[in-house]
Amino acid sequence: MPSMTYREALNQALAEEMERDPTVYLMGEEVGHYQGAYKVSQGLLARFGEKRVIDAPIAECGFAGIGVGSAMVGLRPVIEFMTWNFSLVAIDQIVNNAAKIRQMSGGQFAIPIVFRGPSGAAAQVGAQHSQALESYYVHIPGLKVVAPSTPADAKGLLKASIRDDNPVVFMENETLYSTQGEVPAGEHLVPLGRGDVKRVGTHCTIVAWGKAVHTGLAAAKLLAAEGIELEVVDPRTLRPLDEELIFESVKKTGRLVVVQESWPVASFGVDIAYRVQRACMDELDAPVEVVSSADVPMPYARNLELEVLPSADDVVAAVRRALYLV
C-alpha cells in the first residue's frame, strides 16, 4: 500500500472524484493559483481548469451561498474554508440553507455539497483561529459531520462525502496535514457512519475523532507501560454516528473516556456520554469521563495554549479516574 500524507490523501480524493464526475468542482480562497492555503488542492487547477477550481473573492458567506445555489441545480460543489473558524460568517448558508432546503422544499431540492477545511487548534494562532467547531454543526439536523484522523480515512471519507447527496461538514486538522500513513490506491471509500477501532484494548474505551484520536493513542502508549490496555474507537463521522461500535466496546471494557477538542459545555462528547449511559448502564463500572479543551477562548501564549488543549496526560488522568486508580 502506498504511503502518503494526510494532505496528499485529500488531494488524491479530490482529483479522483473530479475526474470521475464532471459536476464536482472546488471553490474557496486560494484553492487555485496558490494551490490551497494548506496545499490540499495542489495541481488541481492545472488539471481541471478555472471552471472547476475556482479562486473565490474573500467572502465565506459568498462562496458558501454560491455552492448552495449551484447544488440546487445539479452540481456537487466542494467548498473549502481556509479554516472552519471562518465558516462562522457563512453559517446562515450552512445552517439555514444547506441543512434545511431538502426538508423545507418537501424533498424537491437536494444539496449535495461538501464544506471542508481544517478545524481545531494549530500552534499559537489565537482565539479566532483555534476553534474546534464540530459540536456547532453536529447539532444541526440535515448536516452530516465527518472528522478523519488518518490519511487513509481522509481519502476514503472525502470520496464518500463528495458522492453523498446530503450536505457534509468535513473537518480536517492543520496539525494532521503532514502526518504520514498507508492509503489504499484507487477506489477507496469509507462509508459515512462507520467507525473504526484504532487500537484494541480491554481496560477502558477511548472515543475520539480527528486529532484527538492521536491524543488517545498517545495516552494508550503511556498506559501500556503499566499494563493498562486502552481501546481507541474512532467514529470517523459524528453524524451519522456508529453508536453500535462504541456501545460494543464499552460493553467489553465497562469504562469510557471521550476525548474531544471541543469546549465541554453542550458538546458532542457530552452527547456521547449521554447515549452510552442509556445504552450501557448495566455494563458501566464507572462514570463516563469527558476530556475537553478548557472552557476559555484560546490564548496565544504557548504555555497557556498547552494548558487549554486536551493532552495525553489529561487522558491518562481521566482513565485513572475511570479505573479508580486515584
Binding site: 472547476r52 458567506c61 451561498g65 445555489g69 452540481l75 431538502r102 426538508q103 418537501g106 424537491q108 451519522p240
Partner: protein, 370 residues
C-alpha cells in the same frame, strides 16, 4: 427597445394614463402574451384580497400581500421557462405566471396534506422545483448569493440559463447582497438582480438603508450596469429584464435593476403600518397602480374591455372558491412524514424516533401557553 437611461433616470414605457411615453417603444410582445400578463396581475390582486380575508377570519396563520408591487412579478414573462427564479417572498405572480396552481398555493398556506412541501414551511414560503422556482428562505438576502451560484453553475454546465433574484431595497444592506453581487460581477455570472424598492422594510424606510443617491448606483461598485425602472410599469420591467437576460446570455454578466414601486399594505398580516407611516401615503399610490395603468394601455389597444375585466375577476373568484373548497379542509400532513427529507435516507436514529412516536397517542396539548 427602450433607450437605456442614466443611473438616476427612470425607465418608463407607459405613463399613468397608459400612453406610451415620449421616446419609448413598447417591447415586442404578442397580444395573447400581453393579455396573459394582465391576467396574472389580476390574479395576484384577487388572490391577495381573498387570502387576506381568510387570514383576518383566523383561518390562515400568516399572509403577505403584494398590492402595488405586482408588476415586478411579471419580469419573469421576459425570461425562458428554463431560467431560474430566486424569490424573496412577495412574488406569487411569478409563480402563477409559470403555472403554479391555486390548489397548490392555497394548500401551502394551510400547510396540510396537499401542500407540495408537506407542511414544512410557514405560509407564503413556497417551493416549486418543477417550474424552476427555488425554496423561499426567511432570512433576508440569503437567496442572493445562491442565485449567483445557480448562474455560475449554468456557465460550468455550458447552459445559457439565467437566474433572476428578487429582493427588497432593505436586503441591499445585508452582507449577502454584497457578496452575491460582487461574485456575480467578478465571474460575469448570468444573473439579474431585481431590487424592488417599495419604500419600506417592515417599518424601516428606504432612506435608512443607504446613503447612496439611488440603490441602482450600488451596481457601479460591482462592475455591472444599474438601471432604475418605474416598477409600476410592467412593460418597462419586461424590457429591462429582457435586455438584462440578453446581456447575461451573451456572456456580458449581471445587471442590477432597481424597480421603484410601493408597498400598499403592511409587510405581512402581522404588521400594522399605520403606526409608522402617514396613513395618507397609500392613497397617493392609487395614481400609480400598476394594474390600472396597464389596463388603460391595453384598453387603448382594444385588448381590454370592462366585460373582460368582470369575467376575469369572476373567473378567479370562482377558481379560488373551488380550489379553497377542495383543499382547505384536508387533514394536516401525516405525522409519519415528520422525519422525511431531513436526509436523503432515513438515518437509524430517526427511524427509531419515528417508531417510538408512531406508537404514542397523538398529543393534544399545545406547546405554547397564553
Amino acid at each position: 427597445m427602450v433607450a437605456i437611461a442614466k443611473n438616476d433616470e427612470l425607465k418608463r414605457v407607459i405613463d399613468e394614463e397608459g400612453n406610451v411615453v415620449k421616446g419609448a417603444r413598447p417591447p415586442d410582445i404578442a397580444d395573447e402574451e400581453l393579455r396573459k400578463i394582465y391576467r396574472t396581475l389580476v390574479q395576484v390582486r384577487v388572490v391577495d384580497e381573498r387570502m387576506m380575508r381568510l387570514q383576518r377570519q383566523g383561518r390562515l396563520g400568516f399572509y403577505m400581500q403584494s398590492t402595488g408591487e405586482e408588476a415586478t412579478h411579471l419580469a419573469v414573462a421576459a425570461l425562458r421557462p428554463s431560467d431560474w427564479v430566486f424569490p424573496s417572498y412577495r412574488e406569487p405572480g411569478a409563480a402563477f405566471y409559470r403555472g403554479y396552481e391555486l390548489e397548490q398555493f392555497i394548500a401551502q398556506l394551510y400547510g396540510n396534506a396537499a401542500d407540495p412541501i408537506k407542511g414544512r414551511q410557514m405560509p407564503v414560503h413556497h417551493s416549486m422545483n418543477w417550474i424552476n422556482y427555488v425554496s423561499i428562505s426567511s432570512p433576508v438576502g440569503t437567496q442572493i448569493p445562491q442565485a449567483t451560484g445557480m448562474a455560475m453553475a449554468a456557465k460550468i454546465q455550458g447552459k445559457d440559463d439565467v437566474a433572476i433574484v428578487y429582493f427588497g431595497e432593505g436586503a441591499t444592506s445585508t452582507g449577502e447582497f454584497h457578496v452575491g453581487a460582487n461574485f456575480a460581477g467578478v465571474f460575469k455570472a448570468p444573473v439579474i438582480f431585481l431590487c424592488r424598492n417599495n419604500g419600506w422594510a417592515i417599518s424601516t424606510s428606504a432612506d435608512r438603508q443607504t446613503a447612496a443617491k439611488t440603490f441602482a448606483s450600488k451596481a457601479v461598485g460591482y462592475g455591472m450596469p444599474g438601471i432604475r425602472v418605474d416598477g409600476n410599469d410592467v412593460l418597462a420591467l419586461y424590457q429591462a429584464t429582457a435586455d438584462a437576460a440578453e446581456r447575461a446570455r451573451a456572456g456580458d454578466g449581471p445587471t442590477f435593476i432597481e424597480a421603484l414601486t410601493y408597498r400598499v399594505h403592511g409587510h405581512s398580516s402581522s404588521d400594522d403600518p399605520s403606526v409608522y407611516r402617514d396613513p395618507d401615503e397609500p392613497k397617493r399610490w392609487q395614481q400609480a397602480d400598476p394594474l390600472a395603468r396597464f389596463q388603460r394601455y391595453l384598453g387603448k389597444k382594444k385588448l381590454w374591455t370592462p366585460e373582460w375585466e368582470e369575467a376575469l375577476r369572476t373567473e378567479f373568484d370562482q377558481a379560488i372558491t373551488v380550489a379553497h373548497d377542495k383543499v382547505a379542509n384536508l387533514p394536516p400532513p401525516d405525522v409519519e412524514t415528520l422525519f422525511d427529507d431531513v436526509f436523503e435516507e432515513l438515518p437509524s436514529h430517526l427511524r427509531e424516533q419515528k417508531e417510538w412516536l408512531m406508537a404514542q397517542p397523538r398529543t393534544k396539548s399545545p406547546h405554547y401557553f397564553h
